[in-house]
């Protein structure tokens, strides 16, 4: 019973297990719900899906199973609807909302978009209906419909469109991720270093017995509790060439956040210069001077860079090489400052290790880091952690 449903979920890469499936069947057998699709939806979701980030995937799988709708290949890579909806509802202004009304409301707009995506099978350019580039349809890039939704356009060409979706490349690295980060966590645990610090609160049995035996009266000893004392400063490349790797970096970030007692993270773009920032949406307004980082965080912090180090060599070596503003000192100077202050540094590079030799900037960066550059594979991560823990 419902085996098709189970395999449908599996094929959508949802982490469902046989045990959970049997639980669902058991619930159905016990008559927890009446004969209603809505109830079944809620029940199967509660029984099978254990992470809210998977809810959207589940919804799509469920819709597909129930209505026999064929899924459009690659729809999630083209446009994650849930993301669009969430972000847009939060950031639209009143006028923009009214503009959407012109097309029959937001729901309608998204509904139509979904339909079109389903109908449309091939790449399209021009014209007035299909999604593609340079048309007058409300969907697609480089278009002129004022109510338009832009998809896949890298620069704002026509300022009157509702929102430029490409901006998501600079969205904050979110740590709400699907399963699969546990492996990373286990690797990161290598970094843990326990030390006894603070007030003595724990009963120390061994010392008590020893001391009691020696002194011949009860001599109770307490000791401070073991705590993880690792401090980590993470500097992450965001945007630009890192787009391909944002997912990997996200998983890493999600894994890291829970593992250390002190974890500070900052973003930079391509190469480290005078400024870093914490919130990508306000990256120009709220920046932190890199020199302040050096002053604020003691040298017992371990510094982990995450970045692909893929850029023009000028961006590293030349003053003024930054693609964003004129930097007075070169990136190399800043990297060297960091490695001078913090003896424990590592650079995690999501690019495959095989191609490092063919990219000049990676070579330069690796040299600056004193060879401490590691790929973001489990094994690479372990090597990095071992180097940091030494």
């Amino acid at each position: 019973m419902l085996i098709e449903f189970f395999y449908k979920l599996k094929s959508h890469k949802l982490p469902v297990s046989i045990k959970e499936y049997l639980t669902l069947l058991e619930a159905l057998e016990k008559g927890v719900i009446g004969p209603s699709v809505d109830d079944f939806y809620y029940l199967s979701r509660a029984a099978l899906i254990k992470d809210e980030t998977n809810f959207d995937k589940f919804d799509r799988a469920f819709a597909e199973f129930w209505q026999g709708v064929e899924s459009v290949p690659g729809i999630e890579s083209q446009i994650p609807l849930e993301w669009l909806l969430k972000q847009v509802e939060l950031t639209l202004s009143e006028e923009e909302k009214q503009q959407i009304q012109a097309l029959g409301g937001w729901e309608k707009l998204m509904e139509t978009l979904k339909q079109r995506l389903e109908e449309q099978k091939e790449r399209h350019q021009g014209g007035s209906k299909w999604i593609g580039t340079a048309g007058t349809s409300p969907f697609g890039a480089y278009g002129y419909n004022p109510e338009g939704i832009r998809i896949g356009q890298d620069r704002s060409r026509n300022r009157s469109a509702v929102k430029v979706w490409d901006q998501r490349e600079f969205r904050n690295l979110d740590d709400t991720l699907e399963l699969g980060t546990r492996n990373l966590k286990i690797a990161l645990r290598r970094l843990r270093r326990f030390a006894r610090e603070g007030a003595p609160e724990e009963f120390d049995l061994d010392t008590t017995i020893n001391s009691t035996a020696k002194k011949a009266y009860l001599d109770i000893h307490m000791r401070a509790e073991r705590r993880n004392t690792v401090k980590v400063l993470m500097l992450m490349d965001i945007g630009g060439t890192m787009d391909d790797h944002v997912k990997l970096a996200e998983e890493l970030f999600s894994a890291a956040k829970t593992e250390f007692k002190h974890l500070e993270f900052f973003y930079f773009h391509n190469c480290l210069y005078d400024f870093v920032w914490k919130d990508n949406r306000r990256r120009h307004a709220e920046r932190t001077r890199t020199i302040d980082l050096l002053h604020k965080y003691g040298n017992d912090y371990k510094v982990v860079f995450v970045g692909d180090a893929t850029m023009s060599p000028y961006e590293v070596l030349q003053p003024g090489g930054s693609i964003e503003y004129f930097n007075e000192e070169s990136g190399a100077v800043w990297i060297r400052r960091i490695t001078d202050v913090y003896p424990k540094c590592a650079w995690l590079n999501p690019e495959p290790e095989e191609i490092w030799n063919y990219r000049q900037s990676i070579q330069i960066m690796k040299e600056l880091m004193g060879g401490r550059m590691y790929p973001t594979t489990l094994q690479g991560l372990e090597r990095a952690m071992r180097a940091l823990a030494k």
Binding site: Y42, A46, K50, T258, D279
Partner: protein, 281 residues
């Protein structure tokens, strides 16, 4: 035995279904959701609605799974032995029952709340697998098996600070409490403030949802903060007009400290409000 919400707690349909499924199948129910959406309150309300006693086990970063089962108080025993207390001969005097033990051996079925499970060490949920699955555990000191007389109804809340292991998740039902939409929020407020002036409520809700839309807030105001704020507004007897004041000096909603808990958030909000209102004027 069905849970259908209580007079003080508005439960959405999917939440009720998840609760009832967990009760019927005697599995733990894992509850996640934004802070302040009533995760902890759920267990309290279910216990009240079903007329069962509630046992609460609040988890801290130092909590060990063993503490939920029992603790062996070796120090007292050592002291008693020094003082020649006859109690020392029976080890049972020094075994302190934890929340799970109490829940398992209670005379009636109980509701057990394991609050904020994500605060504990990453291995904590793994150490409770058998206990939650089979509802039994072994006491090594006395060589006895503690088995649940009545399987308790277990609620586990998490704030997503740590990811929970798969093996643990497989044994639970899961429900994510979404942030209530305006309609549900209206119901929630009606439950808490039946006599609130309609106009004040409308204005307050608007300000509240507007505030939630401000991008980049570190901590968005949640349901419990809205309720606190309304309480303050009522206590101070603020008029609905004050919430919509056009006056430059009072562009910030009164008593916004109840909604925004972070200094940077307040600054950001003030800047944004000033900018938008200045543009509108």
């Amino acid at each position: 035995m069905r849970f259908t919400g209580t007079a003080d707690y508005v439960a959405t349909e999917d939440l009720m279904l998840a609760v009832n499924a967990a009760i019927a199948l005697q599995r733990p129910l894992l509850i996640k959701g934004e802070p302040g959406t009533g995760k902890t309150m759920l267990a309290v309300e279910v216990a009240q609605a079903l007329g069962m006693p509630l046992l609460e086990w609040h988890i801290k970063s130092t909590t060990k799974a063993q503490q939920g089962l029992y603790e062996y108080d070796a120090v007292s025993r050592l002291r008693d032995s020094q003082l020649g207390d006859p109690r020392v001969h029976d080890i049972h005097h020094y075994i302190l029952k934890g929340m799970l033990w109490q829940a398992f051996t209670a005379d009636t079925q109980v509701v057990l709340l394991i609050d904020e499970v994500d605060k504990a060490d990453i291995e904590f949920p793994n150490d409770l697998l058998r206990e939650l699955d089979r509802m039994e555990f072994y006491v090594y000191e006395t060589r006895e098996l503690v088995k649940a007389k009545h399987r308790p109804i277990v609620f586990i809340t998490s704030n997503n600070e740590k990811e929970l292991p798969d093996a643990f998740l497989r044994r639970c039902f899961f429900h994510y409490i979404r942030f209530p939409d305006k309609e549900t929020m209206q119901k929630i407020i009606d439950v808490h403030f039946p006599n609130l002036k309609k106009s004040l409520l409308r204005e307050a809700m608007e300000v509240f949802f507007e505030m939630r839309e401000v991008p980049g807030l570190k901590k968005k105001p949640s349901t419990s903060e809205l309720l606190d704020w309304l309480k303050l507004l009522l206590a101070e007897d603020i008029s609905p007009e004050a919430l919509r004041s056009k006056d430059r000096k009072t562009i910030i909603p009164p008593l916004h400290g109840a909604l925004l808990k972070n200094e940077q958030d307040v600054h950001l909000f003030e800047r944004l409000v000033f900018m938008t209102r200045a543009k509108g004027a």
